[in-house]
């Protein structure tokens, strides 16, 4: 038998046979590959057929084939027995959900805050846009101060609006943004302290971090609202919103410290060695060499903590602050709009708002993670 073989004619690529390509092959491979797969597929379809039409009917207004009352409808429509979600109620109370009790003639101020925030955060989030440092300083330092004076008023002829009147999505965003902005520097210091070789500093940082990580946020908020006034010199009153902010900041800085520590540990030792071999002092090497790299690495982690914090802000409603969830909860006992689906519509709306924010941020975090991963290999 001879082995010799030389191909004279190359075989050109051919399309896959029908039974291995195209939609039918796709279904066979992905839905009906084995009998148990087929069974699972059928069961899932049965479940979906059972669950989706009622949900669709409940959520969608009638021009899309559902039973919901679209924005602009009346409360009588919502009180019909077969009515679905009462979106009319949401649209009617929308300003309450967004601004709380903020005076209507001053809405331009929160609006300006929203606009400025969007304007600053978009270029900050896109890696290609230059002037990151200026942008970051504007966002993390200047913006909060501007916001405070804009919202609180009392300067430049703007009437003063006390924090009790702030509410809704505005407060949810304020708490989560202030929480993350204040906790980043504290978190960095704590992380550096935990990595430090000095035993007293290290122990203090570990104790601080582990204490706040161990307890539920709700106990921290209780503590802040009950004990903070006790801790202050006699006669000082601490604003309710400020108490919640302190609680949230303490809590999230402990979590952020752990995120930053992850970034510090992920840096190769060589970076530390190179920095000290250049003769840089501890703070200089941290500031110029270590932190810029470590922080860039933990951007996804920071975004994830922000998502967690954003969801956790809903807990401030327990200590009586009118965040988005609390305004929805309060509005659900509004007699003018009382209907069988009032409460559930409110929760659906709040759920969708939270979901859109969190989902968008989690996608961003995943995108950044991929980008950083490939950036390092290349």
């Amino acid at each position: 038998m001879s082995f010799s073989f030389v191909r004279e004619q190359m075989v050109e690529p051919a399309p896959a046979p029908v039974n291995t390509a195209g939609p039918i092959a796709w279904a066979r491979r992905n839905l009906f590959a084995t009998p148990s797969d087929s069974l699972l597929t059928i069961l899932a379809i049965v479940l979906l057929v059972w669950a989706i039409p009622p949900i669709y009917g409940f959520v969608m207004p009638n021009f899309l084939g559902g039973d919901a009352v679209p924005p602009g409808g009346t409360v009588e429509q919502c009180r019909v027995e077969t009515a679905g979600a009462c979106w009319a109620y949401i649209s009617a109370r929308m300003t309450f959900f967004i601004y709380g009790f903020y005076p209507a003639e001053e809405y331009w101020r929160p609006n300006l805050v929203f606009a400025l925030g969007t304007l600053l955060i978009i270029p900050l989030a896109i890696p290609r846009v230059p002037f990151k440092r200026t942008n970051a300083i504007l966002f993390f330092v200047v913006y909060p101060v501007v916001c405070f004076y804009l919202l609180n008023g009392g300067v430049l002829g703007m009437p003063s609006v006390p924090t009790e009147q702030w509410g809704g999505l505005l407060v949810t965003l304020i708490i989560s943004l202030v929480g993350i902005i204040c906790s980043i520097p504290i978190g960095i210091l704590l992380a550096l302290g935990r990595q430090s070789k000095l035993p007293i500093i290290k122990t203090l940082c570990i104790m601080f971090i582990e204490l706040w990580r161990a307890v539920p946020l709700i106990t921290v908020l209780f503590m802040a609202s009950v004990m903070l006034p006790l801790f202050m010199p006699q006669g000082t009153t601490v604003d309710k919103l400020l108490r919640a902010l302190v609680g949230v900041t303490l809590f999230s800085s402990a979590y952020l410290a752990e995120v930053v520590r992850g970034g510090l540990q992920a840096l190769p030792r060589g970076q530390y060695e190179a920095a000290s071999s250049l003769g840089l002092s501890y703070w200089k090497s941290m500031w110029f060499i270590i932190l810029p790299q470590a922080l860039k690495h933990v951007i996804p982690g920071i975004v994830n903590s922000f998502i967690a914090l954003f969801k956790d802000t809903s807990l401030v409603s327990i200590v009586g602050i009118f965040d988005l969830l609390n305004t929805v909860q309060a509005a659900s006992s509004d007699i003018d709009w009382s209907s069988p689906t009032q409460a559930i519509t409110g929760y659906l709306f709040a759920g969708m708002v939270f979901w859109v924010f969190c989902f968008a941020m989690s996608r961003y975090s995943i995108w950044m993670e991929r980008r950083l991963d490939t950036g390092h290999k290349g």
Partner: protein
């Protein structure tokens, strides 16, 4: 590399030519096989008959489908057209047949794929105990025998993570041998190794060849191919371009593509 004068090229050629083509002599028969990944036609019109005791080296540029080809032979990948018959069993979706084939065909991977949570000895005895139902003591004795063959019996109770790459690959070979396979497939066994460790692995493979094991190796080690193979297969773009006895293959390549490849790989 070590001398294996007892098995010179001519002798091997004679041995091969004396082989009779009968069903019992064919280890693997691939007939008109095609494979697609989605719309990508990875393997095109593969015809290959491997005799018992044959040592085949599959060479070719990366992405030419070499690894996919041998992974089809124990159904780690499925083919869409044509036939693959291993030890007289045709590979289809039937799990029983796949089990049958896999028991008789050993495979060594580029990245070893040892089980990191088991000791070396447990790695070696796992399949004999759970697939073949061999008593533990016996399986361990066999394992120690093969560990001695690959010259690392003293590592038996260590974990894979404690061994060097070359040692791990030798353990992986021993692990396959413990199932006493009739055919061994090697998927670039030395590509992930440091240069000084390549030799120890090749030595084990050469000694296996000397014992008459049927072997199909995807490798870039042309020295190994010259020394051990009785056939070299050159693949490109998912098809077999040229195959020949190593002597002729290296000294007198026919196809333009083969010439180009050899000129780049041999200095």
């Amino acid at each position: 590399m070590s001398d294996i004068s007892s098995n010179s090229a001519e002798e091997r050629a004679i041995n091969a030519s004396q082989m009779k083509v009968s069903d019992t002599d064919v280890a693997i028969d691939v007939v008109g096989m095609h494979k697609w990944y989605g719309d990508f036609h990875v393997l095109r019109d593969i015809d290959l008959k491997v005799m018992r005791g044959e040592r085949i080296v599959v060479a070719g540029p990366s992405g030419s489908g070499k690894s996919t080809l041998i992974r089809c032979m124990n159904r780690l990948e499925e083919h869409q057209q044509g036939q693959i018959i291993v030890n007289g069993t045709e590979l289809t979706a039937d799990l029983k047949r796949i089990d049958e084939v896999r028991r008789e065909v050993g495979m060594v991977f580029q990245h070893f794929n040892l089980f990191p949570h088991l000791t070396i000895l447990q790695n070696l005895t796992l399949a004999p105990i759970w697939v073949r139902g061999i008593p533990q003591a016996e399986a361990e004795a066999t394992a120690m025998h093969y560990l001695e063959r690959v010259k690392i019996p003293e590592q038996a109770n260590k974990f894979p993570g404690q061994l060097s790459g070359g040692q791990q690959q030798r353990v992986a070979i021993a692990r396959s041998l413990c199932m006493q396979p009739k055919i061994m497939l090697f998927d670039e066994p030395t590509s992930a190794l440091d240069p000084e460790m390549v030799k120890e692995v090749l030595e084990v493979m050469i000694s296996l060849a000397e014992e008459g094991m049927t072997m199909i190796c995807v490798t870039h080690e042309m020295g190994f191919a010259r020394q051990v193979a009785n056939r070299v297969i050159f693949m490109d773009q998912g098809q077999i371009i040229e195959q020949n006895e190593p002597e002729t293959f290296f000294s007198n390549p026919q196809h333009e593509r083969t010439k180009l490849f050899l000129s780049q790989i041999l200095h």
